[in-house]
């Protein structure tokens, strides 16, 4: 798997706390058996209501790779369709004040880093991107820093997820499956595994 150590590219500011996964991808678009095509539906209702003024529609943010959000982003439903839609649109990393846990885990399993930054940094990033949408935002997982123009600021990510991204083991499936013997051992020690109903 690809080692993810840094992401470079134009940013996109998306303001607001508590943006839930129903807003990111409304439930009617979950009527599907693949994740293909979800990129076009990302924030469908918010975009329709914003009539072209939503960042995902605004011409200056087309081609953005780093999304900058506020607090509790991705709360609500566990639907992986939400980060899939964001990623399929073209976003490769998200910087925010905080993330809902299931959303964070889904992003990690897809190799999309979600890093946190304090409110002042997020605000500076929003302004920086709005002032120069073509500026490159640089997210460095080695130094845990985000940079745009003159601004360099600290970001945070737990050691575990960061290590998984850096070493290219963010898709844990292979590692988990490899432990077949230990899995069996743990299962055998659980009393309920032998209580046939």
């Amino acid at each position: 798997m690809t080692k993810i150590t840094a992401i470079f590219g134009p940013g996109m500011p998306l303001r607001g706390n508590d943006i839930d996964t129903d807003r990111i991808i409304p439930a009617r678009f979950l009527r599907c058996v693949t994740f293909d095509g979800l990129g076009e539906q990302v924030f469908a209702d918010d975009r329709q209501q914003a009539q072209g003024q939503h960042p995902f529609d605004q011409p200056q943010y087309q081609g953005a790779k780093i999304l900058v959000v506020n607090g509790n982003f991705g709360c609500g439903s566990s639907r992986e369709h939400a980060p899939q839609a964001i990623a399929k649109w073209g976003i490769e990393a998200i910087v925010g004040e905080s993330f809902a846990e299931i959303f964070f885990g889904n992003c990690l399993a897809m190799g999309v880093p979600c890093v946190t930054a304090d409110a002042a940094t997020v605000s500076q990033l929003h302004t920086g991107i709005e002032q120069d949408p073509s500026a490159t935002v640089e997210l460095d997982l080695e130094t845990l820093q985000v940079r745009i123009g003159e601004l360099t600021a600290a970001v945070n990510m737990g050691d575990g997820p960061r290590q998984m991204l850096q070493s290219g083991t963010w898709d844990a499936c292979g590692q988990l499956v490899a432990q077949a013997e230990n899995i069996k051992k743990t299962a055998t020690q659980l009393p309920y595994m032998s209580w046939a109903g």
Binding site: V33, G76, G105, A187
Partner: protein, 467 residues
Amino acid sequence: MSQGTLFDKVWDLHTVGVLPSGQTQLFIGLHLIHEVTSPQAFAMLKERGLKVLYPQRTIATVDHIVPTENQARPFVDVLAEEMMQALEQSCQEHNITFHNIGSGNQGIVHVIAPEQGLTQPGMTIACGDSHTSTHGAFGAIAFGIGTSQVRDVLASQTLALAKLKVRRVEVNGPLKPGVYAKDVILHIIRKLGVKGGVGYAYEFAGTTFEQMNMEERMTVCNMSIEGGARCGYVNPDQVTFDYIQGRDFAPKEAAWEEAVAWWTHLQSDQNAVYDDVVVFDAADIAPTVTWGITPGQGIAVDEAVPPPETMPESERVIASEAYKYMELEPGAPIQGTKVDVCFIGSCTNGRLSDLQEVAHFAQGKHVAKGVKAFVVPGSERVKQQAEAEGLDKVFEEAGFEWREAGCSMCLAMNPDKLQGNQLSASSSNRNFKGRQGSSSGRTLLMSPVMVAAAAVTGEVTDVRSLI
């Protein structure tokens, strides 16, 4: 770091090992799947040439897309039909038990697993659905996962996870008349916030929860996720054991005795250490209703929509977004707000005791003119039991529609949807923008009896004035 809590004990017992990342590889005792978040996971398995490691530990049903009126196959909605076929095929291919429509066992995944006795104390339970926290009512560690993690559980029966902190959320005292389990959890979320629980498991403790029956405890644990906590639980006790005993998958005979001893031993120790403790008094909890677009935007039914100056600066932006979306004036009383649709059901409040409470209230009353009110049982068994008690007749005579089991208008993936900016009084769990199927539809969350009260008066009503 917590110590000696049920969460710690169950976590340790299910730990397979520590991964190079430092995360725990955690064994999952029960895996529940449904049609929405599993098809891509099965496709990923196929891509990698992997098999389902413990097919007997995964149970499937169909709930989100199920039409609650016309269930004839093929479904009218071709996309829903395609999802249904994908699930049927995957279950057959991988030898997974599937509780299909008409089996007598189908229903919302978080309703059927407890009612069949699949959900048991001390288990780890995962499902591609955030309301998996429901199963914590039994003293299980249960949480929602995404599709890639559904793949991981299918392939390895384990997940890579970081351990959560544990917050003891204590509520003591009897609930006042007209106050239900739903009000307790809405009150907790209102006070602790929608992100207050991020990074935590919530242990619901205290005499209020001890006095609750299992279905009430499920209502509380169900909405842990709305408070940001990925899982919530209640320590198992005699109420738990009495509920489980005799159900289809409950341990039997000698295994039953062994089970009760093991479950008891898993309870949090008297001197357990918590990362945080918060205490509420049940006497402070009133019938609660949300006015905004997050489940934390709740007030007592006799309060007014809070004006911005009464809230912390950090909540004012989302509040102003909520006033506009909900078409509600700050400072205006929530009581008297006209409702268009009343929905009773969901994994929060679609169980038999919910329907019994509603029927008891609705008996002899009638749904107000111009209001559409419908009751969706949480499972085929709930429907059958309700009908055996004649509840369906009570509902129909009172002007409520009586439907087939499913998730229905909680998230409106089936034909049950709000139209335009209709306002719904709902016993479900989320009042997000667009949640109930219309991009301008509005949702007020409340207890099922409060929904029924709104249905009969046509407006948000303090149920205490009608009982």
